[in-house]
Amino acid sequence: MSTNKLFGITALFNTPDELVHAAAKVNELGYKNYDVHTPYPLHGMDSVMKLKPSKLGYITLSFGLSGAAFALLFMYWAMSLDYPMIIGGKPFFALPAFVPITFEVTVLFATLATVIGMLAFYFKFPSNSHPLHDTPYMKAVSGDKYGVCIEADDKIFDSEKVKALFNELHAKEISEVFYPAIEVANIFEPKFITLLVLIGLLTSGATYVTLNKLIYMTPFDWMMNQNKVNAQSKSLFYADGFGMRKPVDGTVARNFIPYEYKGLAAPVVPLSNPLTPTNEVLNLGKKRFLTFCSPCHGNFGDGDSRLRGQFPNPPSLHSEKVRGWLDGNIYHVIVNGQNVMPSYSSQLSRDERWAVIHYIRALQKAKNASPLEILEAKKETSSNVAP
C-alpha cells in the first residue's frame, strides 16, 4: 500500500549510547530534518540534537492564565452581578472560596491546550497519520531498539550518503520508508447514508420510549401538587361538583353583628350610637362621608350633589325631620337604603356607619347653631389655643 515516493531512511541501534552518538554525528553533518525514536525519554538527547526549548510552554501558560481569568470573571459575574447570593455569610465576591475552582479551570485549560497544541505542533493536526506509522521500524523503537530517521526532504539528503553514514555508525538495520498510498473512502454512499438515518431514528425512538414511558418518574415538585381539595377547584366527591361548601344557615362571620331590622320599613327599637364622638371617630366619619355620602348629599349634607342632575338630588340632611331622627333611624337608612338610595352596608362597616352618623350630627350642629352657641364655642377654642 505504499507509493514509491521516499519519506526517509531509518537506522536502528541496540543501545541508547550508540543512538546519542549517532544523533550527535547526524547533527554535526548539518542535517536538519531528522528525528530520533526511543522507547523512553533519553537524558542528554536534547543537548546533542541542539533542540531549542519547546514553544509549547507558551501555549500552556497563556491558556492557563486565560483559564484563571475566565473562571474568576465568570464567578464574579455569576455570584456578584447577575444573581448575587449570600452563601454562609460570605461576601458576594468570596475570593478564597473561588480559588479552588480557579485552580481547577486553570489546570483544565492548560492541559487541554497542551494536548491539542501537541497534536497541532508535532502531528500536524488534523492529520492523524504519519509515514513512519505501521512500519517495522516503529515497532522496533516501541520495544527495545533506538532509532534515527533522516527525512528525504532535507536539503543535503542523498540516499547513498545517508546509508553510508549509518553503516559507518554501525547501525544494526537500515531501511527505506516510503509514503503510504492515501486511502479514499466514499462516505456519501447511499447504503451508508441509509444506515446512518436508520440508526438515528432507532436511537432517538428508543431513547424517547425509554425515558418517557419505561422509566419515567415524576420529578420532585416541592409538594406543589398535593392530594387535597382546593377552595376554588372542582371536586368529584360532592354532587354539585364544587370543592367549596356552603356554610350552615344562620352562620355568623367572626367580628360581625347582624342588623336585626334589616328589610323592615322602620326600626322597631332604634339602636343607640355605641361610639363616643372623639377626634378619631369624627375624622373617620368625615373621611367615609366624603367618600361615600357626599357625591349625592353634598360635602356639607345640603343635598347639593356633584352629579349635576344626572341623578335625583336627595333632600337636605339639615331638615327638621332628619334632625329630629334618632341615630338609630339614620343607621337604619344606611343599612337598608331609602327611596332611590341603595344600602351602603357593604361599603361601610358597622363602626364606620356610626362614625358617619356622628359626623352628620356635627354638620347639623354647625349649620343650625344659635349665635350664643357660636360665641361660646369661639370662646372655648380661643381659650384652648391661647393662655
Binding site: H43, D46, P53, G57, G88, P96, A97, V99
Partner: protein, 396 residues
Amino acid sequence: MSHHDLVYQKKNLPESLKRLGSILVVVGLVLGVAGFIFDAQRALFDYLLAYVFIMSIAVGSLFLIALEYLAGADWSTPIRRIPEFLSSLIPILFILVIPLLLNLRSIFEWSHPDVTSHDKILSGKSPYLNTTFFIIRTLVTVGIWSLFYFLFIGNSRKQDISKDQLLTKKNNKLSAAFMPIFAITITISAIDWMMSLEPHWFSTIFGIYFFAGSFVAALAAITLATVLLKEKGHLHPRMNNEHLFSLGALQFTFINFWAYIAFSQFMLIWYANLPEETFWFIGRWGGYWSYISLGLIFIHFLVPYAVLLTQPAKMDPKRLKFISIWILFAHVLDLYWLIMPQVHSAKAGALTILFEFGFIIAALGGIILVFYFNAKKQNLVPVGDPKLEKGLNFRL
C-alpha cells in the same frame, strides 16, 4: 573526549568564610542579648524563631538525604555532602534547646498549672501539654533525628575510604525506616514549638505546613551552597548547570506545595468560620500583621513561582542564587508570622526591631561555621559512592 583528567581534588574553603560566620555569630549574639536585657520575653521568642529556623534547615536536609536513598536518585549524589554538612546541626540542637527548656514558663501559656486548672480547654489538653512530657518529647525527637543523622552520615563517610557498596544498601533500608518516623517527629515538633504557643487553637494540617516550609528552606540553603561552591570550584569539576536543574525544580515544587498547604489551612478555617479556629487568623490580621499575612502570599509563593517557572531559570546559577536567598528570607518571615503574634509583651518600638533579628543573624553565622568546619574535615563530594559516576553523567 576523556574524563580522566577531570577528577575531584579537595580544596579547603577560604578562611574568610570562617571570619564571616564568626562575625555574624558575635554581632547576632550581642544584638540578641541586648534585646534580652531590653525585653526578656520578646527576646525568648526571637530565640525560639532562630532555633526553629536552624531545626528546619537541619531536618529538611536530613530529609533530602533520606529521599535520595529511598528513591535511588543519582542526580543529587554529587552534591549530597552539602545536606550532610547542614544536617550536622541536628546534634547541636540538644545544646541550643536548653535556654528554651529553662524558660518554658515565659513562652507557653499551658506551662502554668494555675492557668490551665481554670481553663476547661487547657485542662483537657494538659495530659499532652505539660512541662514534663514536653521536655521528653523534645529530647526524644531530637534524639531520633540525631540517631539517624549519625547512621546515615557515618555510612556515607566510611564509604569515602572503603568504597563499600553495601553501605549504600544499608542507608537505603535506613531511609525506609526513617520516612514514617520523620513524618511523626516533625509533626510533633511543629505542634509543640509553634502551634502550642496558642494552646486553644488547633489545625490538623499544621505539621505538614511546617514541613513544607522547612523543606523548601533547606532546599534553598542547599542550592545556595551548591551554586557558590560550584562557582569557586570546590565541587566535582564534571558538574554542570544541568545538575542544578533538579534543585531548582524541587524548590519550585515545594514552593507550590507550601502554597497549597497554606491555602488549604486558611480556606477551611475561613469557610467554616468557627470562632474557636478563626481567632488565630484574626490575630494575624490586626495592625501591621495584615501586611505580613498578605506579603507571605507574594514573598513565599508568587515571586519564587514566577522566577522559577521556566526551564532555563531552574538551571541559571544567578537566578538560583537570588531566589535561594529570597526563599530563606521568606522562610524566616513565615516563621516570624507563626511565632511572633503570640508575644504578650507590651513593650514595642524602634528598639524592638533593632534587636528582633539578632538571634537569626547569629543562627546564619552558626550555620556557616558548622558548614565550614565540616568541609574542613570531609570531602565535598562522596567520592566512594557507587552512584557518583551516574550522577555526574546526569543530563536533562
